[in-house]
């Protein structure tokens, strides 16, 4: 009796209010889109193109970091909070390697930087990969069969450890990163598209395509997908899941290391706690696109970069973070598994 009364009240009171709230949300979204569109039209196409360039370049870096989150989550359902700090560590390691490979500001913009820079990239990526594999071995593998919260907390702990190490190494100040890339650009439709922007987009794009091919075509990629679906069955098939998971951490960290190096080359500054905010947005990007989904992470990263640039360029930047998370909530309300959806393993 009481229960049915309660239900009736809920049906009576909540449904109309719910509908009203939905309507208000839709109106608010339309209003914001309208204002933004008016400003975009008002400021002309070349400015729009310029902002898009910044957004895509920024988004490409987020995407690289987001891939690491999504791969690790996809395979062992762990949110690796230390991943953002690994990205920063990549930047720190590469800034340390630059002089060893003979790179400094005097060589900026010359063709001579290409080979040494490639070497710096590869060494940084390998070191980051090795560090992440060790982190997995020490902090996550022993807890693989423990309650879900335990590895989550060790991940937070590893994040603090990495930040602490970088703090002791370089101190609290912004670390200058030499401006090696050419500062010139091409003028297209009134917008300047810098060599730096192109560099970021191309390098990140290549890495993402290679990753996608690797996961879909190679034997190890197949093993990863199998492990993500069912660890026990995979093991029964004779696949070493420890090795497969370690490989996932390795690849994720390789991308983070590359991301850190690209960030340094693009913004010419690093700071020890950069990983916190970068990691937060990259993780958001992964959720945006559908966590566990590699294409989704790339799309999510790109979108976050674009939203940030558009909002900073046209609206009040005080609200940028609010808008990103408001859009995330909206997406999750309508598509709880993110834009592209997660391939949910059957268990």
């Amino acid at each position: 009796m009481v229960g049915s009364l309660k239900q009736a009240r809920i049906a009576f009171v909540e449904a109309p209010i719910g509908r009203l709230v939905n309507l208000l949300v839709i109106l608010a979204v339309l209003y914001v889109i309208f204002i933004l569109a008016m400003k975009v039209v008002g400021q002309g196409p070349s400015y729009f193109l310029q902002i898009l360039t910044f957004g895509v370049a920024n988004g490409a870096i987020y995407a690289l970091v987001a891939l690491g989150y999504t791969m690790v989550y996809g395979i062992i359902e762990l949110i690796n909070f230390a991943h953002g700090d690994l990205f920063t560590l990549g930047g720190f390691i590469s800034v340390f390697l630059l002089p060893i490979f003979g790179l400094d500001a005097s060589k900026a913009g010359t063709a001579g930087i290409i080979l040494p820079l490639l070497a710096v990239f590869i060494v940084t990526m390998l070191i980051c990969g090795a560090i992440n594999v060790s982190i997995e071995r020490v902090a996550y593998r022993p807890l693989r069969r423990a309650p879900r919260l335990a590895p989550l907390i060790t991940a937070v702990g590893m994040s603090f450890v990495l930040e602490g190490v970088m703090f002791l190494w370089k101190g609290p100040f912004n670390v200058p990163y030499p401006n090696l890339l050419p500062t010139t650009g091409f003028v297209i439709g009134g917008a300047t598209i810098g060599v730096k922007d192109i560099f970021v987009i191309v390098v990140a794009g290549i890495l993402m395509v290679v990753l996608a091919l690797f996961v879909s075509r190679s034997r190890l990629g197949k093993a990863m997908r199998a492990t993500a679906q069912d660890q026990d069955a995979t093991e029964l098939m004779g696949i070493d899941i420890n090795r497969t998971i370690a490989a996932t951490f390795f690849i994720g960290a390789v991308l983070a290391g590359a991301g850190g190096t690209i960030f340094g080359l693009y913004y010419n500054t690093m700071v020890f706690d950069l990983g916190f905010s970068a990691g937060l947005f990259a993780f958001t990007a992964a959720v945006f696109g559908g966590i566990g989904n590699i294409q989704g992470a790339a799309l999510g990263g790109l979108l976050i970069g674009l939203i940030t640039a558009l909002w900073d360029g046209y609206m009040e930047s005080t609200w940028t973070q609010v808008i990103i998370f408001a859009i995330l909530i909206l997406v999750l309300v309508f598509r709880p598994t993110g834009l592209l959806g997660m391939r949910v393993p059957e268990k």
Binding site: N58, P172, F173, G185, T192, D312
Partner: protein, 436 residues
């Protein structure tokens, strides 16, 4: 690495292993704890007393974090003043410094904890600091209940000493609330922010002849406040603010959309309301290739870190400092030379080194008068506070100081600096009295 695991064993093995791990973890944590306590066991103390006993002058500055580029030079000034005095009226003078940094940034709660530690030590009769206004806001009420004197060289937030209608809304407090026992214990030599933003606005409009400026701030009490005041004054003069943005600098890396917007709207220069801890000069590096023209900063950016962050675009920076430049005072030369001998490195000295040195000397001189007032004995903290409040025409390296009833200097000075030369450095442009 083949791993053959027998399912029936798993649980017991797991428990065994966990037990071993707990032991290891315990050992590691104990090790860290020992290391941590070993590191924090303080400086301070000092040997046996000269005749009558020991008096300690304390300081609180951010000496290890992102603001250490301001905090360490200020602490050097205080330490130098105490060391130079050596003793006062038969009491040995000792310096003891506190750091208010947590996780690389100045922290109000750490400041509050520090001042409680100072108050607990009866040899400490007063302190110089802090560097940041929000830290001061946490410290003043605690010090006030103990009649404990604070003199700051660099706090510029106007709501620390003066009552304005917006103080409650902007900072959540008022000067009266900060002083629960009703008697002022907080003094400063810096000019309040009511002067700092407008001083740069006047300079930009009158001297540099700009009419269109873009502004960004870090959205913090100091940064946003000084940016708002620049904006008001610049508009009042007849200039236009073409773009205004407030950023969360913890999560912002890219200022290029803002700068491109500013350029498209005809900005001739950019004003930044922020500090070194909130990336004040990072956008300056990104201006290269987008927007030519000077970059103007408040005192939170007038330091070596800003020049580093601005990278290859560090020329043509303008900055205000809310105190006079000691180098312009011929009487201060001997003191400056002696200081440089004691602290020879370039990064040892900053724009608030000599204002902080003056604060320490004001405190020491007042302690001397308080000793006299107490018949040559160790004075009470209230006697020291009253003596500081009564300070009249104290001749320091950066000016002559008298405090008004609020604790503000009666004739504050504003100085303008510019980056010039090779290697680039902050060079004095001009200074002028404000208010009073």
């Amino acid at each position: 690495m083949g791993n053959t695991r027998r399912p029936d064993d798993v649980n017991r093995k797991w428990e065994d292993r966990m037990q071993r791990r707990w032991n290891t973890a315990g050992a590691i944590i104990a090790g860290f704890a020992m290391l941590a306590t070993a590191c924090t066991s303080g400086t301070g103390g000092g040997g046996g007393g000269t005749s009558k006993g020991e008096i300690i002058v304390a300081s609180d500055q951010p000496t290890s974090g992102g603001d250490a580029s301001d905090g360490l030079p200020a602490q050097n000034g205080i330490q130098f003043a105490v060391e130079s005095a050596g003793s006062i009226k038969g009491f040995k003078l000792t310096f003891k410094g506190w750091d208010d940094t947590v996780n690389g940034n100045h922290d109000p709660q750490k400041g509050a904890q520090n001042i409680q530690e100072m108050i607990a030590d009866s040899k400490i009769l007063g302190m110089v600091g802090p560097n940041n206004s929000n830290v001061a806001r946490a410290m003043i009420p605690i010090a006030n209940r103990a009649s404990f004197t604070m003199i700051s060289a660099a706090n510029t937030n106007e709501c620390l000493t003066q009552t304005f209608a917006y103080c409650e809304a902007d900072t959540g407090t008022t000067p009266a609330k900060l002083r629960p026992n009703g008697v002022n214990n907080y003094f400063r030599v810096a000019a309040a922010d009511t002067f700092q933003g407008p001083a740069m606005a006047d300079y930009a409009y009158d001297t540099l002849k700009f009419t269109k400026v873009a502004i960004w701030s870090d959205n913090e009490t100091f940064g946003k406040g000084v940016a708002d005041k620049f904006s008001t004054e610049f508009t009042k003069k007849g200039g236009t603010i073409v773009v205004r943005q407030d950023f969360d600098t913890k999560t912002t890396n890219d200022w290029k959309p803002f700068l491109t917007d500013a350029k498209n709207k005809g900005a001739q220069a950019v004003y930044a309301g922020a500090t070194s801890g909130t990336k004040i000069c990072i956008p300056r590096a990104q201006m290269k290739g987008i927007l030519d023209g000077p970059y103007m900063v408040p005192d939170g950016g007038v330091n070596a870190q800003c020049i580093k962050d601005a990278a290859d675009n560090a020329a043509n920076l303008y900055g205000t400092v809310a105190a006079a430049d000691a180098n312009q005072n011929p009487d201060a030369k001997a003191t400056i030379d002696a200081f440089t001998k004691r602290f020879p490195k370039k990064e040892d000295v900053g724009s608030y080194t000599f204002p902080a040195l003056d604060c320490a000397n004001i405190l020491i001189e007042a302690i001397g008068r308080a000793i006299d007032a107490n018949g040559g004995n160790m004075p009470s903290r209230e006697q020291v506070r009253a003596a500081v409040a009564a300070t009249k025409n104290f001749k320091g390296t950066t000016g002559t100081y008298t405090f008004d009833a609020n604790g503000d200097p009666t004739s504050p000075t504003m100085a303008i600096f510019q980056t010039k030369g090779s290697p680039l450095d902050w060079l004095f442009v001009k200074q002028f009295g404000v208010g009073g």
